[in-house]
């Protein structure tokens, strides 16, 4: 067991998958000799060669479209889009083709591909490098959307995504690419998709979040504990489909919920979760579901970024608002 960062865990998972399944191939810009701009594929080109670890020309549509073709032929392509801000040319291929290949051919052809995309803000990056438009993908039937929140989650969930027979959009929160280290056993054990994870147990309030925001949420829970409030923190992990059962179980216990996401508020995945809680746990609610999110503005440039992103005080305030009811 060695200490691993999240991006190192991604690399370990890719390495393991490629070593054990010859159908797995990697493609993307600068993933080969350069090892990826975030070093997520570092060393893989050297180990597995340029046929299986393929640098592509600068063509996001091509990266996704070629992956669709490869996948129908039984390969397991793991394609990398360098930043979420550049994924949009690939959306056509994901929405019009990857998500539908199985259903439109009644299972004759399928599309077991993974689209890996570093995403999210908090790294003071230039324009377009801090996007969180996860809701665009989460809205598409036939896709899965998965967001790891720690090195172990990244390792286990990526292995599961690669093994999954259907297309997965794997969003890697680059803000915590290197800031969290965990001991990790390279044992090839996947984590379950479609399931949320309880990061911290509590009885007064459920905080539901994912990705880099789990760090802020856990810090808020600590702060609230000092005020005598026991907050449960849940990592949704899979945004499509959301583990509504798991979240509802928590809200039935606590009666209160705060959903936290970086992405803009309107039509974010938080709205989906709030609606699901209302449908399934209405009679358990002591307070309205709160959402702490990015604002409905374009992601600002670095100087204002910290005002945009949800932080521990905002989350704690929302928790206190929730607790002021009933």
């Amino acid at each position: 067991m060695t200490d691993c960062t999240l991006v190192e865990a991604v690399r370990l998972a890719l390495n393991h998958a490629m070593a054990h399944d010859e159908r797995v191939v990697i493609l993307g810009e600068d993933v080969g000799i350069d090892g990826g701009v975030f070093r997520a594929t570092d060393g893989l080109w050297q180990r597995f060669g340029g046929e299986r670890v393929r640098d592509t020309p600068l063509s996001e549509a091509a990266i996704a479209g070629v992956s669709v073709g490869l996948a129908t032929q039984g390969f397991r392509p793991v394609a990398e889009i360098q930043f979420m801000g550049f994924v949009y040319p690939a959306i056509d291929q994901m929405v019009n083709h990857a998500s539908r290949m199985r259903t439109r051919t009644r299972g004759r052809l399928s599309c077991p591909m993974v689209l890996r995309v570093p995403y999210g803000g908090g790294i003071r990056a230039p324009e377009h490098h801090s996007e969180s438009t996860e809701a665009m993908f989460a809205h598409i039937p036939g896709l899965r959307v998965v967001v790891p929140s720690s090195p172990r989650k990244a390792y286990g969930l990526l292995l599961a995504a690669i093994a999954d027979p259907d297309p997965v959009v794997f969003l890697e929160p680059k803000r915590i690419y290197r800031s969290i280290k965990e001991p990790l056993d390279d044992d090839g054990e996947p984590l379950p998709l479609d399931r949320c994870f309880v990061l911290r147990e509590g009885s007064d309030l459920s905080i539901v979040t994912w990705g880099a925001m789990t760090v802020e949420a856990l810090a808020a829970a600590e702060q609230l504990a000092a005020e005598g409030v026991s907050a449960e923190v849940i990592d949704a992990a899979t945004l499509k489909p959301v583990d509504v059962d798991g979240i509802v179980a928590s809200v039935e216990k606590t009666g209160r919920c705060v959903v936290v996401h970086e992405a803009a508020k309107s039509c974010g995945v938080g709205a989906e979760i709030a609606a699901s809680i209302m449908e399934r746990a209405f009679l358990s609610l002591l307070a309205p579901v709160e959402r702490v999110t990015g604002y409905d503005t374009v992601m600002p440039l670095p100087r204002l970024e910290s005002h945009y992103l949800p932080d521990t005080p905002r989350i704690a305030d929302a928790a206190r608002r929730s607790l002021s009811y009933s």
Binding site: G69, G74, P241, V244
Partner: protein
């Protein structure tokens, strides 16, 4: 195209290109060059002729079904039968066809049944679950996005070291899309075993070829991707087949772009009225160049094609089409829950819950499509 006024002493020529066009069987009946072997074989030629006739009969029936409310919007390939039959007849059974939405001639040759095509255009997903060619792609409605799929399939063959090729069909409009360029670029740089065929029927709905691009030919777009682009008379089934065969033969080492020149004699689809944007005189002129009559004249002149044989072929084509239409019309509709099946390999919980809702509503007699 005029050139920049640069100083000739300071410049040197660093690039040229050539685009060749092949035609064996011209519209006026003349034969050029030495015909390929298959063109000198009566049964082969009859096979090509029959395939084109069947395609045309199928198209006619499909349009009739649409006009009588029993089929959805349909894109007829009237006038373009030689392209689809020529391309498909050049392919091996192991190769993979990645068609657009006007390539039923190729799909039928490859073993897709008429009922399957009718099911697809009639709005039933079972139409894409081909009983014949299991690896072929279904119809592609978004323009040009499938050219990338063909590149991906070709890459799969290359990675596995298989002697197979991907063949992609698309129209002149598709060559303006980014996906087209990206796919060609990839195929060129990765040397993918692919043949890209432009079905240049001169019209992208109402936009004529002249308004689509300033490039003199569409074939020359291959040059930019570092591969050869070749033109062919798309109404000469011999030329089409021959060029695609040649391209397939060398596809393991180099991809090819083939521009097949033809003409869309019908409307874009049954939802279009071409008389709004083009004049009948032009269409009439192109009827004189159409592929089926051309081949019939050759058959008659070269192989004594008889009236009886003609009648018999037409009759059998009609019967086949009628039989397929009957089977299609008698087919039981999919249950409402079918929309949830095959969405994922294993339906996740939220999908399963919704499927159960729909199942309950359907069993109570409420049909979703009422």
């Amino acid at each position: 195209m005029s050139e920049l006024p640069l100083d000739p002493g300071a410049t040197e020529d660093v690039g040229h290109f050539r685009v060749r066009r092949e035609c064996f069987l011209d519209a006026d009946g003349s034969v050029h060059g030495e015909l390929p072997a298959f063109a000198r074989d009566r049964s082969e030629v009859v096979g090509l002729y029959e395939a084109m006739l069947v395609t045309r009969a199928f198209d006619e029936k499909a349009v009739a079904l649409q006009r009588t409310g029993r089929l959805g919007t349909f894109a007829s390939s009237l006038g373009q039968e030689a392209v689809s039959v020529g391309v498909a007849s050049a392919m091996g059974s192991d190769d993979v066809l990645v068609p657009s939405f006007r390539d039923q001639g190729a799909q039928l040759w490859r073993g897709v049944t008429m009922e399957e095509l009718l099911l697809y255009w009639g709005g039933d997903e079972r139409g894409s679950d081909f009983s014949g060619p299991r690896d072929d792609f279904p119809v592609n409605i978004p323009v040009a996005s499938h050219v990338l799929h063909a590149a991906g399939v070709a890459l799969a063959f290359k990675l596995r070291g298989e002697q197979r090729s991907a063949v992609c069909l698309f129209g002149d409009g598709a060559t303006s899309k980014g996906d087209f360029y990206e796919a060609l670029n990839l195929a060129g740089i990765w040397r993918l075993p692919a043949v890209f065929v432009i079905n240049n029927n001169r019209w992208a709905i109402s936009v004529p070829r002249e308004a689509q691009t300033a490039a003199a030919t569409l074939a020359q777009k291959a040059i930019a991707a570092g591969m050869e682009g070749v033109q062919v008379d798309g109404n000469d089934v011999f030329a089409v087949r021959h060029v695609v065969e040649a391209a397939l033969a060398r596809s393991a080492s180099a991809p090819t772009l083939v521009e097949a020149l033809t003409y869309r004699l019908g409307d874009h689809t049954t939802a279009d009225d071409a008389s709004r944007y083009r004049d009948d005189a032009q269409t009439s002129r192109h009827w004189k160049r159409e592929p089926v009559a051309r081949l019939k004249r050759y058959l008659t002149e070269r192989f004594d094609w008889s009236k009886q044989e003609e009648e018999a072929l037409l009759q059998s084509a009609r019967e086949r089409v009628e039989e397929a239409a009957r089977r299609y019309l008698d087919m039981q509709a999919l249950p409402a829950t079918a929309m949830f099946d095959h969405l994922y390999e294993e339906p996740p919980k939220d999908v399963a819950i919704q499927r159960a809702e729909v199942a309950a509503r359907s069993s109570q007699g409420e049909r979703i499509d009422d």
